[in-house]
Amino acid sequence: MKYVDEFRDGELAKVIAANIAREADSQRVYRLMEFCGGHTHAISRYGLADLLPASVRLIHGPGCPVCVLPIGRVDQAIRLATDQGVILCTYADTMRVPASDNLTLMRARAGGADVRMIYSTQDALKIARDNPERQVVFFAIGFETTTPPTAVAVKQAAAENLRNFSILCNHVLTPAAMHAILAVEGGVALDGFIGPAHVSTVIGSQPYEIFADDYAKPVVIAGFEPLDVMQAILMLIRQINGGRAAVENEFTRAVTREGNRKAQAWVAEVFELREVFEWRGLGSVPYSALKLRKVFSEFDAELKFSVGYVAVPDHKACECAAILRGQKHPQECKIFGTVCTPENPIGSCMVSSEGACAAHYSYGRLRGVTP
């Protein structure tokens, strides 16, 4: 596969790893946070941690949009399917997220609710067209990579007057999450950010400049493949060693400073900022999420149906919050691997394959972990 295989070359990996080993100062620690579910997954799947010296610590941040969804939001989706009898369309990632009353979307489906897994928002539109007598709701989650496809779907629904279609909007914003991380009480010890791959494709590299300028944290945007991640780590180490803090772009083949203007325009036309939104692990974060503009309010499931948001606290023993903030490692959660496993997840970090806990459980339990 072109532009995929070359970036997974094991021989080149060894070379970059050797350079990281040479340049990383063994007398200090480099705490690098990655913000992208895809990076979490790549690091685990390819065993990247094995190729890094002990001084480089990779911290998983809140880059997995499934993981940062509070229980109450999943409850809304479930209630739409069970109580309101809609056809609930969702990406497969949300199906097993534990919600209230021991429910998941998957269990709701087993109980008779019409929950359908889709690959693209186009599929949701098709379901709405094919079922004019039913209400169809799309469970819209995701960071800035996934928001433009939702915008396209809403505009298309408006153009077609598809009145039985609506969305439950949970789109969230990456820079807001980064601000929230840096503003966490007590602080999160961080030396740099590995910038998300495909989010940056859309938003460009410019939004990260504030973190370099104001917070003095270097940001290197990394592509999705393991070689990209390694090269980005090398670039971060160089900046940190040199006392610099700048935004650098390793993923030049897909990311520019301005990003994808067309996609940004679609989003700006359809969505506006919510004043506040609750995140699992970060609490209420201002201007961190999106909702539909008034002109599209007939496609807003929260307005259309009476499924108000009720905040639900996490399970008492669940450490997802601290893990999402990068303050704790999955190993430090008392129920990790015992009560909370991929078969029986207690928190969302164990459900999504990009969640820190699931990734660690599935791939990383091998090596003892230094928190």
């Binding site: 799947r45 094995d50 394959s353």
Partner: protein
């Protein structure tokens, strides 16, 4: 003798009477199943088939088949049900002798499709040399079944001196795989997900008892044979590791995967290690015999891409580990739930 109208295979459909035990059902069996499966045991025409003496330890296995869609590139539910159960018996080191086939048909199911399925089963059965000697037919109301469900049972005989079992793997043993993984699962899933191909992904469904016989003949010290069906290679190896109380270490670079399967998995966010196979087997053998066994497998048409993919280790945790192509190490864990296509 009263005239019985021949079955309308072009436009006819299954009706409730086809399952009621009366004339209609007898007609269906004679005209469709008996005609397709045609063998002296079935021709006895009794509820149970009277079979000759078999000498040796008996092995029996049963499998239900609920695949959807019923027809896919490289096969259908019919040949799948024949191959799958034959393979289960073969994995015990047994020679499969006889099959039974039970059908649960949904009212309204097209006779044309049923004929196609029956003929596919007949072909598979004939090629494998394992006759379908007895069967059953039931019909459920429309909406209560997914077209057709097929349950097959197979009986076989193990040759003396052969004992294969999941708890026999020992540290030091080598793990062999008979060919590329992921073909069947992706052939089925791709149809559902609207993918198309330059070179189509074709199910690898096949009866493996011939390959197994060749492997047993060569005298290699075989400990375990298993076919990685649902849950894929990863799940099967984890099962064996748990049964034997050992760990394993795989080499990702050694595991054969067709490029198109790899690309289809990329598209859908799946891992080939967890995708079902229906014509592949895993073999665990003593280290000293691995090369010889590999050669034997590669000389058989169903083992041409066979490879040594790893070894068994001592490991109290029972982890199945893998050296990635990239150079790092990871666990290859059990499949949790269904492998859901990710977008994330």
């Amino acid at each position: 003798m009263s005239y019985t109208r021949p079955l309308d295979f072009k436009n006819g459909r299954i009706e409730m009477s086809h399952g009621s035990g009366g004339r209609a059902m007898a007609h269906l069996i004679t005209e469709l199943f008996a005609k397709a499966f045609d063998n002296p045991y079935l021709a006895q025409g009794n509820d149970g088939a009277l079979l000759p003496h078999a000498s040796g330890r008996l092995v029996m296995s049963t499998d239900s088949h609920v695949v959807s869609p019923l027809f896919f590139a490289g096969g259908d539910i019919g040949c799948l049900s024949v191959h799958g159960t034959i393979n289960d018996v073969a994995m015990m080191g047994a020679r499969p002798l006889y099959l039974s086939a039970a059908f649960i048909l949904e009212e309204g199911f097209p006779l044309m499709d049923l004929k196609r399925i029956a003929e596919s089963m007949a072909r598979a059965s004939l090629e494998a040399g394992v006759p379908i000697v007895t069967g059953d037919t039931k019909v459920v109301e429309q909406g209560k079944g997914d077209g057709v469900f097929i349950t097959t049972t197979c009986i076989g005989v193990v040759r003396d001196g052969v004992t294969l079992s999941g708890e026999l793997a020992q540290p030091g043993d080598r793990i062999l795989l008979s060919g590329a993984i992921g073909d069947h699962g992706m052939a089925v899933l791709s149809r559902r997900e609207g993918l198309s191909f330059d070179a189509p992904i074709v199910s690898d469904t096949a009866a493996l008892h011939g390959l197994v016989a060749a492997m047993l003949d060569c005298g290699a010290c075989l400990r375990v044979l298993r076919d990685p069906t649902r849950g894929g290679l990863a799940t099967t190896l984890n099962e064996i590791a748990r049964q034997s109380g050992v760990g394993m270490l795989l080499q990702e670079a050694a595991i054969p995967v067709h490029q198109t399967v790899e690309a289809a998995c990329e598209f859908l966010g799946l891992d080939p290690l967890y995708v079902a196979n229906e014509g592949k087997l895993l073999a665990i053998c003593a280290a000293g015999d691995a090369e010889r066994l590999l050669e034997v497998m590669r000389s058989h048409p169903l083992g041409m891409d066979a490879a040594i993919i790893g070894e068994v280790l001592e490991d109290a945790h029972g982890f199945v580990q893998m050296h990635t192509r990239f150079g790092g190490r990871r666990i290859v864990d059990w499949l949790a739930g269904e492998q859901l296509p990710r977008i994330c």
